[in-house]
């Protein structure tokens, strides 16, 4: 009697479906795909930028306009990678454009939402007084003024973004795969780049930008350490 050595039925089915699906996608029109990408990225940018536009109106500075343009670019690249014909499979060590797209899209959306609810960026001096983060900001301000608030803002945004990115790529990370995760984080934080531009060009925020950067760097180190610990834990239980 010989025992069957082979992959599980589930693995075979997923692999065959993923590759057959990619072959089918390749046969579809490229221009149609590009049209869908542009439509989706433009609609998402408009949807996310609407609150910004209505809050600032004529005060909408060049920095904010550039930021919106950058987010549109991030979303276009993100949707392009997402709809690129490819096997949609999550396998450790296989960092596909599909996974990178998920990170870029979700991080861009997260960044804009974070800005919208942060009193220092958008909700300050706007007709809307309610913000779930307002009490948090007051707390930060009471601890050490604007410097502490900006430092903790940078830290929280980076840690939150890092954890979200880790959750998206967790299944595709190999044990000790810090190089791939660093690549993931670089893509994830790309969408936060316009925040720096906004802070540098805004006269009120400019003196505190260095605190935001220091907080962000600390957050990056914490996100990397946390992800490494979680990856080790995952493989410890797997083996």
């Amino acid at each position: 009697m010989t025992e069957f050595i082979g992959p599980s039925e589930e693995v075979s089915r997923d692999l065959i479906n993923a590759i057959s699906g990619a072959l089918k996608e390749e046969k579809k029109s490229r221009s149609l795909r590009l049209g869908r990408v542009l439509l989706l990225s433009t609609l998402t940018t408009l949807l996310l930028s609407c609150p910004l536009y209505f809050m600032f109106r004529e005060e909408l500075s060049l920095a904010w306009k550039l930021a919106m343009g950058f987010w549109w670019l991030c979303l276009t690249v993100g949707f392009y990678l997402y709809y690129l014909p490819q096997p949609r499979l999550e396998v450790p060590g296989y960092l596909s454009p599909w996974i990178l797209a998920k990170i870029l899209i979700s991080m861009t959306v997260l960044t804009v939402i974070q800005i919208l609810i942060c009193p220092s960026f958008v909700f300050l001096e706007t007709p809307f007084s309610w913000s779930p983060f307002e009490s948090l900001t007051h707390l930060f301000m009471s601890w050490g003024g604007m410097q502490t608030c900006m430092f903790l803002c940078g830290l929280l945004m980076t840690v939150f973004g890092g954890v979200l990115s880790f959750l998206i790529v967790a299944r595709t990370l190999k044990e000790g795969d810090s190089r791939n995760f660093t690549k993931v984080l670089a893509i994830a934080y790309l969408s936060q780049a316009p925040l720096l531009l906004v802070q540098i060009l805004d006269g009120d925020l400019r003196p505190y930008v260095v605190f935001w950067i220091v907080g962000g760097l600390l957050g990056l180190a914490m996100a990397l350490g946390l992800s490494r610990a979680l990856t080790r834990l995952k493989f410890y239980f797997q083996n």
Binding site: I5, L15, P92, G93, G176
Partner: protein, 190 residues
């Protein structure tokens, strides 16, 4: 051209790579599913069988990504196992696993054998343990050549392509591995 499944590996690969024929891919997959999975499963410790599955999947994903680079002059079997070998090498060099020195073969030592005939199973297991210990004694290149020849059923030309040695050298490696194993097994029995 209608794919029937009777075609050679290279013809199937051509239909898959050039025309994007998914049936050709499925036929190829079914042909190599067991051999490829076994290649990884036999070379990794039993505690790393999940990784064998991951490497198996990554090999097929790599085949899909690089299908345009397939050279029809080469044999498909040699090409896919070169990809598998490179992935395995990267995985091992990452330092998280050692190549199995307890090559467990479920094809020969199945639990049902032991249940059917405990005594025969015991001696089979004992013999198998001796083979594994002997395999651990020969050089890495000889072991690989021997496994590719005996388990995977590769010809010396294919082994030469995979191990990047000459045809004569591949034959020599297999032959030396066999005689070394024979000596080691005789020593162990005596």
């Amino acid at each position: 051209m209608k794919i029937t499944g009777e075609e050679s590996d290279e013809k199937l690969m051509n239909a898959y790579a050039v025309s994007g024929d998914s049936h050709a891919f499925v036929f190829l997959y079914k042909r190599y599913e067991q051999r490829l999975f076994g290649y990884f499963a036999r070379r990794l410790f039993s505690g790393h069988q999940a990784q064998a599955g991951d490497l198996f999947q990554r090999t097929w994903l790599k085949v899909h990504e690089s299908r345009d680079k397939f050279d029809p002059a080469l044999r498909f079997s040699a090409w896919i196992f070169t990809i598998a070998q490179n992935l395995l090498r990267d995985y091992i060099s990452s330092g998280h696993v050692r190549l199995s020195r307890q090559l467990h073969d479920q094809e020969t030592v199945g639990s049902e054998n032991v249940a059917d005939d405990i005594e025969a199973g015991y001696f089979q297991k004992l013999e198998w343990d001796r083979v594994c210990s002997a395999l651990a004694e020969v050089s890495d290149l000889q072991r690989e050549a021997f496994l590719l020849s005996v388990w995977e059923g590769f010809t010396s030309k294919e082994i030469a392509q995979l191990l990047k040695v000459s045809d004569a050298n591949a034959r020599q490696l297999v032959s030396r591995a066999k005689s070394a194993l024979k000596n080691l097994l005789e020593e162990a029995r005596s």
